[in-house]
Subunit: 205 residues, 4 copies
Amino acid sequence: MAGQKLTKRKLEALKTREKLIKAARELIQEQGLDRTSISEITKRCGVANGTFYTYFKRKEDVLSAISIEIFNELYAKALSYEGSFLQRLEFFLINFAAYIEESGVRLCQEWVRNTVNPKLALNDDDKVKLDFDLNLLRSLIASGVEQGALRVEVEVDALSRLLVELLYGQMLCWDFSDGTYSYKERTKEFCEKFLPLIIKPYLKE
Amino acid sequence: MAGQKLTKRKLEALKTREKLIKAARELIQEQGLDRTSISEITKRCGVANGTFYTYFKRKEDVLSAISIEIFNELYAKALSYEGSFLQRLEFFLINFAAYIEESGVRLCQEWVRNTVNPKLALNDDDKVKLDFDLNLLRSLIASGVEQGALRVEVEVDALSRLLVELLYGQMLCWDFSDGTYSYKERTKEFCEKFLPLIIKPYLKE
Amino acid sequence: MAGQKLTKRKLEALKTREKLIKAARELIQEQGLDRTSISEITKRCGVANGTFYTYFKRKEDVLSAISIEIFNELYAKALSYEGSFLQRLEFFLINFAAYIEESGVRLCQEWVRNTVNPKLALNDDDKVKLDFDLNLLRSLIASGVEQGALRVEVEVDALSRLLVELLYGQMLCWDFSDGTYSYKERTKEFCEKFLPLIIKPYLKE
Amino acid sequence: MAGQKLTKRKLEALKTREKLIKAARELIQEQGLDRTSISEITKRCGVANGTFYTYFKRKEDVLSAISIEIFNELYAKALSYEGSFLQRLEFFLINFAAYIEESGVRLCQEWVRNTVNPKLALNDDDKVKLDFDLNLLRSLIASGVEQGALRVEVEVDALSRLLVELLYGQMLCWDFSDGTYSYKERTKEFCEKFLPLIIKPYLKE
DNA sequence: GATGAATGAGCATTCATTCAT
DNA sequence: AATGAATGAATGCTCATTCAT
């Protein structure tokens, strides 16, 4: 009895929530957010229109929920990697691209659309994501310093910012192209050709 | 003299078109495209609602027209610069940012929103702009090779792509921030701190 | 008793639908469909604009709904008649005209307008109505044969087709005249003067 | 000089008018009147938008002009026929159908649509056409009496009305069917099977 | 006679969201 | 938690028509 929080009812509710997210993700990937109506989403789940609002306050919130799912996986995996500083850095960058690519261009485009526009006053989590990514890279670089791989003089902020901008720039170009090439491959290429040039001056030795 | 087909009527028409673009630009900058109605735009010009559609097929088309104006100025100026290869490159990058910043975040955000989303099937000119920017940088770099500033071995495509991605990445981050810092300054900073690192290996001597 | 699924909510919904149809019928009769706006219809029912679209997909659909109501009554009554074959036939023809006349020229004109035009891709039920009327007459005539009133050699199809064309022709002329004479009287006249001529050769004895 | 009313200019003008009618006829036949815009019509003729209004007061007027062309041909031919009364009658009826069929269902449907609806307050010529057709048949029948083919007691009005209603009814059914069968053949069939039944009692002898 | 820029009325339609059941 | 009927704001767009040139 104690701790038994998941009654059958609550389990059902969780399932419903998951079904909604899944359906929304599919539909957004197929047609984009604007062209996807609440009733389409609920119809696909076999629930009533209003049920959507049991779980999400506004339509856009389901996009946030989807993003959170994706980014959580992304970060979990990207940071799990063990290895030298450079390997970890590359791993992070490439996996960032890989995850986003896997989840589909349309979804990524919607995410950009909804994040770029301040009027939607959408879940601020997304906006903060930029800072989140920045911090992630910052700590990655900081750990590089700690581990003695990077010089102490490295400008952590400027460097992490640069890398975030690169990742986002690659993402935006990929979105513009409607995903007609591989975002991941593009990032890999960057890691081979340019990352060393940028990092080298800060490497110890 | 030759081709002087501009009767008074056609001149008036051109003026009307310009007035519409100007009004739309102001309003979009103030409130974004979605919150700007056609009748607001036309009212500000003192023309009838329908007149808008004499010049633009759809609401979004005025955004394209605005972009074209801005980018044309941008390119005209950015390429006019005389100087060494590196100076010209920096000038281009910084001015790219400066122009976009001057025209306002809201406008830039709208441009990203409308370009990132393929469903609007908006004037393809915008999508092509990425290629246009790429080509511009490519020819800039190529001219650097011709003038003997860069080694022949430089990978023109990869390098120009990298720079475009950087510019776009900086732009996207700036959009995400709602323009709370200077895009131009950020690009300037990049030119100082990182551009040399990237270019140096390709510089002759 | 059985199948009594009508909760209070569903009953309310049915009532709303009926109110909409009634209001639309009145307004169309007064001004025609084009001049009748959705908000006029809903205002007259005291419901919100959008409620109309809970029950009808497009504006034209309410016209279909109205037709169906009218025609259902018509058929129900017209076929209820007991009597000799000729009496039943006359009763059908005259009542057809009478019902349509009662429901008003404007409505009839709208019905013709909307049925004649294939581009509206309006509810196909209306187009099928022609076939429905044909079948009705066909079965009427067939029953005449069965009951021994008509010779077996009668060409059922051709005869029923002729009668439908007559009914429709009288209706169209009545529409053209804006209802300035009586459709029903015209049909009655036809039944007296010409129907016997047409039927006689097929009558037994 | 005298009587030389057709200056080159006037000839050109007549040609323009003809071109407009021809283009309109084609476009209406292809898409119906509603979907055909003035600028489509003028574009197809290579003239300016406004030129349309040099020749027609309102959009619908071009439909009238087209009808007049068609009906004039129709009447000219239908009445030219020499022969016995019954032959002339049949010839008229069948040719009526044939002409309308030749000019296309879409056109016929538009004509019905526009004639049936009194709100358009369209050129009254069309409404009068019903009377015109009636009169035509009336005089045909009257001439039958004069020539001694029909008894004097024949009810000219009722008979001609019946025949017009039949023609119109066949036309309407044909319109409903979107022209999926032949109007002319249908009328021919009627002339064989039923016309004699109707006329016979009034034939002399 | 021809032009074509300007007009401006006019409304169906969508759909996110609410809330009584 | 689920339902689904009701809401109602909000506006892009068309296009027949006019008229100054």
